[in-house]
Symmetry: C2
Subunit: 148 residues, 2 copies
């Protein structure tokens, strides 16, 4: 196939859950190079959802989904609970995690979170949705690839 | 931006009408190089719709739309009517042509056709749909970029 040095007209980044976990997140956690800079590194808990548009822009088209890697932040240094608060609000998990398969093999899990403005338990629910992906490994303290 | 030599995982060719006409078809008719071989050259009237899957495959994902360039075939050497018959059937226009704009500027038109098996006027309607794009120029005897 040909070589191109930018995203040609007509191409959109519409990855499947499997591609996000089994290609992008797997490469990222193994510190392997990723061909193209479409999933950005951010510190999710230092930015607000509405900052993502600028930080995670791909090409020139309209986007209503943004892709990024962010390290998980623990609530307490010794615990397992995640701290998902930002300055303006917090991310709260909703529903059940979804299993992600490559063929018959479980490769990862997807958690859905909703952004609330304010402080728990009095936050105000917003329209911002995040999908947090994790590799299915023995330990889950792995970096995350997420999408709004 | 980075360079890549293949379509990276997660990218799909989902062009807008404007991109098909104003980028791909415009370059093609001007014989300018196109970065990436996603719109194939075929002779539409020598192949059947079901042959397109192999001829116009992009990458490894599932596709239910195929993109190609094909020269228009005239029904009679001196006339303006198009001959859209194949061995197994024929393409018949349906509905109105749709105007395609870049901002305020009309850049092309899109005709919708349906494939009928058999011979007119007794063909049997199929589920195959084609969009035939043309540049909006003073003459319309230009090559076509089409999608099923």
């Amino acid at each position: 196939m040909d070589t191109f040095s930018h995203v040609p007209p007509g191409f959109r980044f519409h990855p499947t859950d499997e591609e996000l976990v089994d290609y992008y997140l797997r490469k990222k956690t193994a510190s392997k190079p990723i061909d193209f800079d479409v999933v950005r590194d951010v510190d999710l808990y230092k930015i607000e959802p509405w900052d993502l548009e600028d930080l995670c822009k791909i090409g020139s088209g309209d986007q209503n989904e943004w892709y990024f890697f962010s390290h998980k932040d623990k609530k307490y240094p010794t615990g397992h609970r995640s701290n998902r608060a930002t300055k303006a609000g917090f991310w709260k998990a909703t529903g059940r995690d979804k299993a992600i398969y490559r063929g018959k093999f479980l490769v990862g899990m997807r958690k859905t979170l909703v952004f609330y403005k304010g402080r728990a338990p009095n936050g105000q629910k917003s329209d911002w949705i995040m999908h947090e992906y994790r590799l299915e490994t023995s330990e889950n303290g792995t970096p995350q690839a997420s999408t709004y």
